[in-house]
Amino acid sequence: MKRFFQAMLTAAALTLGVNAVAVLPAHALVEIDVNKGNIEPLPIAVTDFLSSDALGAEITGVIAADLQRSGLFAPIDKGAFIEKISNPDAAPRFEDWKVINAQALVTGRVTQEADGRLRAEFRLWDTFAGEQLLGEQFFANKANARRIAHIIADAIYERLTGEKGYFDTRIVYIDESGPKNQRVKRLAIMDQDGANVRYLSNGKAIVLTPRFSPTRQEITYMSYEGGEPRVYLLQIETGQRELVGNFPGMTFAPRFSPDGQKVIMSLLREDGNSNIFAMDLRSRTTTRLTNSNSIDTSPSYSPDGSRVVFTSDRGGQPQIYVMGADGSGQTRISFGGGSYSTPVWSPRGDLIAFTKQTGGEFQIGVMRIDGSGERILSTGFQQEGPTWAPNGRYIMFFREAAGSGGPKLYSIDLTGRNEQPVPTQNYGSDPAWSPLLE
């Protein structure tokens, strides 16, 4: 991703000459302890960035919406604001913000450079300590105004929670339209908040299960084009496509290795069972990881690449197993009753998200990598396919309520208390979260 965006975006720290410093104060009063069980959202005032047009308010609207959806922040209604920020270079009247219980305050300005680029400056204030926590500026093409907003929201999130943000990311998913028995499926990509939808396939062939490369503007997915269901690679920016390997049978359930150099996937055997293989994209060599008379599928690497979690029905029904990246030591880890599938290793490495079917319902949950500590985050009539935000705190999945006609995307945090619909134009399924853009 780096190569693509490098030219567009530059950032610089802003310091305020008057009475505040940009040095991060170790004693800041305003911080969110994200490890507390019950998180009280932090009241924050996001003021409209000064600008000669509507762009300033547009950008702050995106920032406030990002922060709100995280569940960790409670943006204060603008109608309650007392001070009107007229000079974002000067310190605000902290008393005016304390009175409305704004523990953090965001101010800023958007201007246009001589070369046409946008310049966005923002400051984050701790109103109770009376000091500046952050001051930065960004330059970008006008078309990337929303990206600037997401980057600023990430900076605020990171400064106040102590963990990486996840707003400057994208989702690749399957757009679904038409009646259920003639469903048209298209590859689509959008920002994590549902903006900037772009279609990457024409809907003529069934496409399924897209996954982002962790290192490039590339996705791997399954397509039925030409009547042969197989795994493909797609360059997002050029549209260039390529078959992954030349196997005699169907290939499916692809995912990248953490270094982006391998695709791990299922290969159908002649006898109707499916085993897991990894293909090195440079050398084109393939390695067999499982060899069981069962369905082995949905492989997902650990973030260090040393292990793989997958689904197998070798014990009679689908359950979750972990093995070494060379196929060694295949061990079942799910024992909670019911069947388990679609395991996905957390980017933090500590948890595995899964779909569980029990009692006629579908659940999205997480467990530790040894199978202990299972927690169900969401239960519904039909839901599946978790994908992790890059900071490992949020999960996106898709759900079809009974009688609703089609699936929609949702996100939920690890507490299970903050569930949010993710807007899509049509029905949506098979979401995959990108890494943070660079």
Partner: protein, 167 residues
């Protein structure tokens, strides 16, 4: 028989054929053939794709999360094998399908296993393996769309489709 046109010269044969075709349909009260799924449009020429679909039954059904050929399906597949061995001009694609009550990737694998089990059953009854291909659609191509067991049981299926007719 080459077709209806060739037979219409003799009204007696036409009448006889129609009687047989109707009797054939009436005897199949299981939901396991296309006539009961609304695909029948009248009598079909023996040896035609319609004959296969209507009079033999092009599909079998499976239990939840199973690729075992059920007893009721064995009769259909045995008839399929007899028909396919009689009309050898067809190439065969066996589609494996799953209901929606499973996750996507697992159901693709499950559909593949159902298609393979169907293929193996036909091969064991003399259908040449080189005529048969399999494809899994997982849960992507439901025929019945409702949110209960009455639809799911129709979607857990393997469909034997014909191609290369007349070659």
């Amino acid at each position: 028989m080459r077709g209806i046109a060739a037979m219409t010269r003799n009204p007696l044969i036409v009448a006889l054929f129609l009687t047989l075709a109707i009797a054939g349909c009436a005897n199949k009260k299981t939901p396991n053939n296309a006539a009961d799924l609304g695909l029948a449009g009248g009598a079909a020429t023996p040896g035609s794709a319609k004959d296969f679909t209507v009079n033999v039954g092009d599909r079998i059904f499976f239990d939840t999360d199973s690729s075992v050929i059920r007893a009721d399906a064995q009769g259909i597949l045995t008839r399929q094998a007899q028909w396919l061995n009689q009309y050898r001009q067809y190439a065969i694609v066996i589609e494996g399908h799953a209901d929606e009550r499973g996750t996507r990737e697992y159901n693709i694998a499950l559909g593949a296993r159902r298609a393979a089990a169907t293929r193996d059953f036909l091969a064991a009854r003399g259908v040449n393996a080189s005529r048969m291909k399999t494809i899994s659609y997982g849960k992507e191509r439901p025929v019945a769309v409702c949110d209960d067991i009455s639809c799911w049981s129709q979607n857990r299926r393997a469909v034997t489709t014909l191609s290369g007719a007349g070659s």
